[in-house]
Structure formats: C-alpha cells, structure tokens
Assembly symmetry: C3
Homo-oligomer: 262 residues x 3
Amino acid sequence: MSNPGQSLQQMRTAAPLVHNITNFVAMNPMANVLLAIGASPAMVHAREEVSDFAGLAQALTVNIGTADDAWGAAMIDAAEVMNDAGRPWVLDPVGVGATPFRQQLSRRLIALRPTVIRGNASEILALAGRPSAARGVDGGDGVDAAMDAAQGLARETGGVVAASGAVDYVTDGADGYCVANGHPLMARVTAMGCSLNGVIAAFCVDQPPLEATVAALASYGLAGETAATTAQGPGSFQPAFLDALHDQTPDALDAGARISAT
Amino acid sequence: MSNPGQSLQQMRTAAPLVHNITNFVAMNPMANVLLAIGASPAMVHAREEVSDFAGLAQALTVNIGTADDAWGAAMIDAAEVMNDAGRPWVLDPVGVGATPFRQQLSRRLIALRPTVIRGNASEILALAGRPSAARGVDGGDGVDAAMDAAQGLARETGGVVAASGAVDYVTDGADGYCVANGHPLMARVTAMGCSLNGVIAAFCVDQPPLEATVAALASYGLAGETAATTAQGPGSFQPAFLDALHDQTPDALDAGARISAT
Amino acid sequence: MSNPGQSLQQMRTAAPLVHNITNFVAMNPMANVLLAIGASPAMVHAREEVSDFAGLAQALTVNIGTADDAWGAAMIDAAEVMNDAGRPWVLDPVGVGATPFRQQLSRRLIALRPTVIRGNASEILALAGRPSAARGVDGGDGVDAAMDAAQGLARETGGVVAASGAVDYVTDGADGYCVANGHPLMARVTAMGCSLNGVIAAFCVDQPPLEATVAALASYGLAGETAATTAQGPGSFQPAFLDALHDQTPDALDAGARISAT
C-alpha cells in the first residue's frame, strides 16, 4: 500500500474534472466536497449532452438515487464513453434493494464493469443477491457481513468494490483493506456516501484503483474525525467537514490514516 | 393534548422511514432535518419505482413546489399506496395560488384525503378558494385570517390542516390548537416549511394526527428558537437549527412548547 | 455611477419576486442568497406553469447548467413573458463552451436579448466564439481577456454583459466598469456565480441595468470579503456569507465597494 498522503497530493496536482450523474439530494454537497478537496466537479445528466461532457472529464460517477429511465440511459451513455477512453468511473447503487427498478438499472451498470463500486454493506449484499437488513436507502448491515459479497462482486466486474460503514472494506477480489477512519455524525448528514463517490473518482485519475480508493476513504473519514472535534451536532459538522477536507495536508493524512490489510 | 415530549420520544424510537416527493430546493435540507431529528428520509419520485418505494415507507410527504405532470402522477400513485396501507401522508400545496397548474394538482391530491395538509396561511386561503395576499411562494397573510378556511378544509378532507406562520394553527375541523414556537429567522431560510412536512409525517407514524402535528410544530419551532440564540443571521442559523433538532430532549420540548387550545 | 448603497436599499424596499430557472446544484443556495439579501425567490421550471409564474415575477434568471430540451423550451417561454412585460432577465450560459447543446441553447436565448448576461470570462469568450481555457464548468481565463468579447456581446444584444472573476468587468457596449470586490474562497464554493444571477436580477428591478449590475457585483463581492474575515475554509464561509449579505448596510456597501470606470 503506497502512502495515502502521496495519493492526495497527486489528486490535488491533477485537480481532475469529475463528471457526476448523481441524485438531487447529493448534487450540491458533492460539488462542494469536490471543490473543498481540490477537484473540479460538474453535474451533467441530460441525454442531449451527457456523452459530449463525459468526453471532457477525467472521471465519472454514477449514482442511481433519483434515477428514472431517461437518466438510466444517460448513465449508460456516459459510462461507455469512459470505458472507451480508459478512464475511471464509480457506481453507487443507492438503495438497490428497495425496488426492482433499482435492481435492474444497477445490473445493467454493473455489466459495464465500473472501475469502483461503492455502497454501504446492505447495498453490496443486495447487489450480490444476498439478504440484507436495509430499509429504504439506509443500510442496516455491518461491513463484516458484506466482505464475501464484495469479493465476489469485484471478481465479477474485474474492478474494485468498497463497502463503506463504521469500518470500510475495499477489495479487488484478491487483496483487501480495512479503513477505520470516520465518525458516527457522518451517518446523520445526508449524501455523505454519495459525495464520497466523487472523491474516490478524483483519486482514481491516473492512480491504481485499489490504492486510490483506500486513500480516498481514509482522507474522507479523517476529515470527518477532524470535523467532529469542533462540531456541536450534524448541522455544524457540515461546514467543519468541508473546512477539514480543504485543510487536510498529505502529512496529516499519512499520520491519521487507519488502513490495515486483511 | 398529550405531552409533545412523549410524541418526540415515540417518533425517535420508531425512527420511521419517511418517503418524500418534494421540490428540488427542499430535498437536501429536508433530508438533513429528518436525519437530525432521528428519522430516516428517502427522496423518491420516479414513476418507475415510486409505488414500490411507498410500499416500504411508514409515511409519505408530497410537495408540489417543483412538480410537473409526470411528478403529479407519481404523487397520486404514492398517496394511493399510503391510503391503501392506512399510513399517514402530508400534503404541502406550495404556492397553490400562483398558477392554475398548482390549483388543479392540489385539488386532485386533496381529493385523496391527505392525513395532514400543511401550508402557510396564504396557501390555506387559496386552497379554500378565498382571496389571499400571497406573492409567488411566499405567503402574505396572517394565520388568524386562515382559521376558518383551515377548519373548512379539515372537514372536507376528514384530516388535519395546519396553517403555519408566526403562530401556527392546527385543526381537525372540530378541535384547534395554536403553537407559538418559532423565530423570525426561519422565514429568511428557504425550504423551512417544506422540511417541516417531513417532521410532521414522522410524528404521525402510529400517533393520532392532530396531536402529532401539534407536537411536531412545537418541536420544530422550539429548535428554531434554540438556534436563534447563537445564530448571527440566516446563514449560521441553518447549522445551529440542525444541531438543535438533534439535541432536543423530550423534557426540553415539554418545557419549551407553547401550545394552547383555541 | 450612482452609489451602490442606494441601489441595495431600493432593492430591499422593493423586495422583488425573482423567478429562477436554474440548475439543480444552485437552487437551494440561490434561494438562500436571495432571502438573505432581502428578495423573494421562486424556483419554477415546469412548462405546465412557467409562463403563468413568470407573469407574476418582477425579474427572471435563466441558467443552462442542468438544462435539457424541455427546460430550454421553458426558459424561452419565460424569457418571452419578461420581454413582453418589459421586465429584466439575466442569462447565465454555464459551461457554454463544453457541449454543442449548451452552445445552441445559449444562442437561442441570446437572440431573445437578455437584460444582463453574466458568466465567467471563459463563458463570455466562448459565447463570442473565441478560444478559451475553460474546462467543464470552471473558467480558466482572466477577465482582461474577455473585455473585448463582452463589449461585442453587449452591442449584439443591446444589454449588459458581466464577466465575473477575481475582478469583474461590466459593460453595456459603450461604458464599462471594473468591480474589484470578492475573495478567493468564493471559487471553492459551488454555485456562487449562479446565485449571483439572482442578486443581479433583483437589483435590476426598476433600476438601470448597468448601474444595478455593478452595484449587485460590489454587494456580493463585499459580502464575500466580510465572510472571509471569519471563515476557516470553504465550509464555514457559506453560512458566514449568508449572514454578511443579510447584515450588509447601504453605508457599508458604499464604503467597501471598489468600482472603477474603465
């Protein structure tokens, strides 16, 4: 595992343009997260232009949280552009277990072999066709329960799978890492997982996806820890979190990252 | 009137999944409000899945703020699921007096007999076909002017009607309560009324709608008062308000609620 | 140049209803910006009602950031209502250089002769058909490079063109002003430019567009300077910025505005 601080530094130097097709709840905080950490976000989903825009971007994220058939088609268009260009893209199968529509759309996107799939443990379990304790879009399962499912899914796609939670688990189907950074207040703020997708995508630009994903998770979780030291609750946590992402140095990330091989 | 602190406690114990079909401006703050107070929000509107999702939820909110014909159909689908299941749903007729489209959609939704209708006084007047001083989506009428209209509307639907403002008025057509909690800064932050719909819906899960709505209004207004003690303006009010919702104890709500029967 | 403080005071007294057809990222912060400074925002884009709503508004903003064909048609409908009524409207050609769809939609909107066009320097250059260093929706050009393009565009439309950046340039094709207010943190927060459109539109109500635009830019930039004195980063900047807009007095604006004729 290369050091995560170097990965952060490389991302900031590249300052990649990250194209996001994400849900309406996440669009604003995700753009702010990407700006705070040093990337350049754009939210573009109209089929009239989504392929043109994807052609300009260094990375893509796709999130099914408020998708419909038209958005699903745009997601597939954009993912195909990234695949043709050999650029990374991240899939977030939000609430995939909740409706047949989400299951079907997620399956179509997984068939395009995303560079990284990130979900909570319940979503990873549901993708793998296993029972989960999810309810709506909130997961109810621990990451331990999802490790086998994550490995199987990574082997199916040839990509990286990250199950995020109190402890995150990241695997490419062969190697696996746990990332223990984070804070419970992150679960009381909406779209924190969605916004993380953009950070993962930004780190993956010209970096090996497994290491880049691990570094992104550590950076994000550590910023949450930093924010929690001054936050009074989930409201004051949000500006403090953006400040922490903005101020995080590579050295602080190397010192604070809690990454372990499994 | 049972005590509002008990109602808050019961809501937090249930931590209900609240399905929201709300406007784009409100989606993010409403999700954060529901997470802060202890419920589980989901924003789902695509007709491809809205009925499936409604079937999973304990309560629903419907807000016409940025609706179109397709969303209107999804709202009706979801409301019918809740009616069939005997679960509560809340209608917010945002800016109903502004356009014929809003009037027609609101009338179709009212015919489905929402558990609670919540609007500002101008919206309640407009729903009842009476003249109002509204302009755009901002109300211009006081709650006093809307009491008769609210009672008539409640008798028409068999549900609860809440006219919110500096003082809120809540009625089921027979009994009525005034809730005097709140702070003027709440009117300088967007989507505060929209987000309140979710709190009302969460309180209504397995609770009598009149009492639950009154308790929700008191809780929300009291959090506004708490936030205003530290806020420097409408910007710093927002994180402080989420912190206050998160930190509010049942005892503090019982002590601070200003509820009176009318 | 009349004093900007008087322009701010006149806007607050009018408290105009500003109708915004803007992108999903900007809807929430833009509504909060308008409420904080003292105007009344509404976000309405459905073709089912957009013309009816425009008829109620004192000013309109149109932003192509997340448009599609249906939204484009709604933008044209609403702009025509404003033109017929002789009311001001502001066009923001977000990322116009990024895709053919954006170029074509922008050209159709420019043909309707917006009262004010506001973009970053890269967008103004792209509108004028000149090469720019833009990437995605972030500009890469300085305002100096866009002055000629802005003047030409203003002469084409008969309106005002504002190229915003570290220093803003505003022209009606004959006279020109530079506004040097602002702070670098504003570029690390999403939708700051988009939200500014609403402030410009509000100032333009019953005020001469060139002077009103200059005053709006000074007011907005000065609020950014005020916020930066207490912000710890781009997260804490946001609530501080809304507080600063809310608290800004006409005298403080006159004292702090850095406007120069060119």
